[in-house]
């Protein structure tokens, strides 16, 4: 690693990614959420690019590009369309209120910090901090999936989780297959979005859910 500045910048980017995750948790409207997600992807792209520069690994630029084009532009637009086409109403139904969710998020970030900083200092500090942030992003993404009812916001949750993964992957110095993985994940996300569109999942995953089929099969007692 070269000097302190690189460290700080990577740190800054990763940290801001966490911050944006919090912003996502904070949102109450779908469109806003989508925009924030675009921002999330943008920050990710930046941090990936920076990592590419720091590690001198040109292939990471591809990942960054994917993040930029696909996640920051295409997906939000498509989802936007879907919302319009399916006439999904714009409020985000939450399971727990925004306040508690934020608190839980805090807890998760703290948890991931503790877990990661137990790592013996021998390891590359840049990687370590990065990992801590990545883990918190992942957990926050999961939290989002768990605490939001709308299908779209859950998808967004999943995508930010995946952003966390990419962040971790790129943070790992010289990790092979990163590009492939990010591609694979983009495919996965595409599948999900298509699924939402195909299955006409208006409100939440719950509407197409095993409940229906179990009532149908009469297994419920």
């Amino acid at each position: 690693m070269r000097g302190n500045l690189t460290f700080d910048i990577a740190h800054l980017l990763a940290g801001s990614l966490v911050l944006v995750s919090f912003l996502q948790l904070y949102q109450a409207r779908l469109y806003a959420l989508l925009n924030i997600y675009a921002l999330h992807a943008l920050v990710l792209a930046a941090s990936v690019a920076w990592q590419a520069f720091v590690q001198g690994a040109p292939h990471l630029y591809v990942t960054a590009a994917i993040a930029l084009v696909f996640k920051a532009i295409v997906i939000p637009v498509v989802l936007h369309r879907i919302i319009v086409r399916l006439g999904i109403h714009r409020e985000i139904e939450t399971v727990v209120g925004v306040g508690p969710a934020m608190l839980a998020g805090m807890g998760l970030v703290a948890l991931s910090m503790v877990v990661m900083l137990r790592v013996t200092p021998g390891a590359d500090p840049l990687a370590r901090e990065d990992l801590a942030f990545a883990l918190s992003v992942v957990l926050l993404g999961l939290l989002m999936m768990v605490t939001r009812r709308n299908a779209v916001s859950q998808v967004v949750g999943f995508m930010s989780l995946e952003n966390g993964l990419v962040l971790a992957a790129t943070g790992a110095r010289g990790m092979p297959l990163v590009v492939e993985i990010s591609v694979a994940f983009s495919v996965l996300i595409a599948f999900i979005v298509i699924g939402i569109f195909l299955f006409r999942i208006r409100e939440r995953f719950d509407t197409v859910d095993v409940q229906a089929l179990d009532n149908f099969r009469g297994e419920r007692r």
Binding site: V115, L142, F158, L161, L165, A168, R173, V208, L213, E219
Partner: protein
């Protein structure tokens, strides 16, 4: 990489998949499917004769040889079953030829993916393979395009993707742990290199990694509380896929877990993965055992029984030690064979009766004696009654555990007993009493089912020494 058996195990399914995707007409493609599976199996067996050297991407050792042969064998028998099953489905008009073509191609892709996951020498590659296997099964679960099938597929897809995500994170962490020791680049993801250096890895990182891997791959193994996708995927997919899911895919995920367990076991200061696995195993076993009692859908019931047995297997590996590991391997093998046999029977039964509802079948031993008694035998086997194979493994697990950890063994025994009760409660309704529902003779191929049951029955009283030595080596490998 010159062409050897190892490449064969991968190439044959890949080529077959391409061919099947191109071929119209299900009869010929079904035959081709069988042929390809047979070839794969043959090549897999040849691994025992000449063990090819393992490169940076692929490897063969005692551990995965067992898995590969098991996978290819069940894969092969399942194709035979699937031939007659799909034939009936087409006549019944539940599947259109185009879907059947897709199905066959996907089947081979699935085989390819699972074999790849097994022979992968690279944790990243393994991850990719398992993700591929998951996605293919998702597509096949949804193949009937009924509301329930899509439901199940969607559920499987979402939960599976999260699992994949967690597993990836774990994989990255393992790389992070290895990278300072081994250095950047590919080597830090290669098993054969990792195991040599595992002792110097950062234990804390390994711990976190294992948590994520346990949950990520555990989702695929179907451990409670990560099991949610499993029963529905089994119940709604075509029965051959249920057989493959229960018989193979769970094993493949388990294989991944075992690999990482070995890695942790090699590192003295990392946390022992045993307790975690034991806990999850017991939870799954007990939970699934109780879930059996309220089942109305026959396939879903056996899906839960798969969860129960995966719990027992994970428990055994978690206990560790030569005896328990041996028992775990044996149990896994026996479970794959038995459970797939059961699903063969169930597939034909549900085709005969035209339903999967237990309430609508009954007196099967009267209306369709062969199927009925086959099912009874299978259930007896899966419930761990002698002289069938699972009894031996359960005997070893319980008796070896009881001397070390009496309470754990007691809990496990309770789980087994409750499971037995649940299974036979339903079996009585299915196989005995006044026959109900249509009793048309099934045009079924009984060969795969009874072949499996015969193997299981023999294994219950006699294990060939070669197999034993093989298992013992693996058990030693697992520590």
């Amino acid at each position: 990489m010159n062409f050897d058996a190892l490449a064969g195990v991968l190439l044959i399914p890949a080529v077959a998949a391409a061919a099947l995707a191109a071929l119209p007409g299900y009869r010929i493609s079904a035959r081709l499917n069988v042929l390809a599976a047979l070839l794969t199996f043959a090549t897999a067996v040849s691994l025992f004769v000449v063990q090819p050297a393992s490169g940076p991407y692929l490897l063969v050792d005692d551990l995965n040889k067992v898995f590969i042969v098991l996978t290819t064998f069940v894969g092969f028998t399942t194709t035979i079953f699937s031939a007659s099953y799909i034939g009936h489905e087409i006549e019944a008009g539940r599947l259109t030829p185009s879907f059947v073509r897709f199905y066959h191609a996907m089947y081979q892709v699935l085989m390819f993916a699972m074999n790849l996951a097994l022979v992968a020498n690279n944790i990243g590659l393994m991850w990719v393979a398992i993700e591929l296997a998951t996605l293919t099964t998702v597509l096949m679960v949804g193949i009937y395009r009924t509301h329930e099938a899509l439901e199940a597929a969607w559920k499987y897809f979402i939960l599976g993707s999260v699992g994949i995500g967690l597993a990836l994170f774990g994989t990255i962490l393992v790389y992070m742990a290895a990278q300072p020791v081994i250095g950047e680049g590919l080597n830090a993801m290669v098993w054969t290199v990792l195991v040599t250096k595992a002792a110097q890895f950062d234990p804390a990182l390994l711990d976190v990694a294992f948590v994520f891997l346990l949950l990520g791959y555990g989702t695929k193994v179907g451990l409670a509380p990560l099991h949610a996708w499993l029963p529905d995927a089994h119940a709604e997919g075509p029965t051959p896929i249920s057989a493959v899911l229960s018989g193979l895919l769970l094993n493949v995920a388990l294989y991944a877990l075992l690999r990482f367990k070995m890695l942790l076991a090699l590192n003295p200061s990392a946390l022992a993965p045993g307790p975690l696995m034991v806990t999850l195993g017991l939870i799954s076993c007990l939970f699934a055992a109780f879930m059996l009692y309220r089942r109305r859908d026959i396939k879903r019931m056996f899906a839960y029984s798969s969860i129960e047995h995966m719990g027992i297997i994970v428990f055994a590996f978690g206990m560790g030690g030569a005896l328990a590991n041996f028992a775990g391997l044996l149990h896994m093998t026996m479970h794959s064979l038995t459970k797939s046999a059961i699903f063969y029977a169930v597939g034909h039964i549900s085709q005969v009766k035209g339903t999967q509802k237990i309430a609508d079948m009954g007196g099967l031993t009267v209306s369709n004696p062969v199927l009925g008694w086959g099912l009874v035998l299978g259930v007896a086997a899966i419930a761990g009654l002698p002289p069938l194979g699972i009894f031996m493994s359960e005997f070893l697990v319980v008796s070896s555990t009881f001397a070390r950890e009496p309470w754990l063994a007691t809990v496990l025994v309770i789980g087994i007993l409750v499971g037995l009760g649940g299974l036979f409660l339903r079996l009585n309704a299915i196989a005995f009493g006044e026959p109900r529902g249509p009793a048309a003779p099934a045009q079924a191929s009984y060969v795969p089912m009874f072949a499996h049951l015969a193997i299981v029955a023999t294994a219950g009283v006699y294990l060939p020494p070669a197999l034993v030595t093989g298992f013992e080596n693996v058990a030693r490998l697992l520590g």
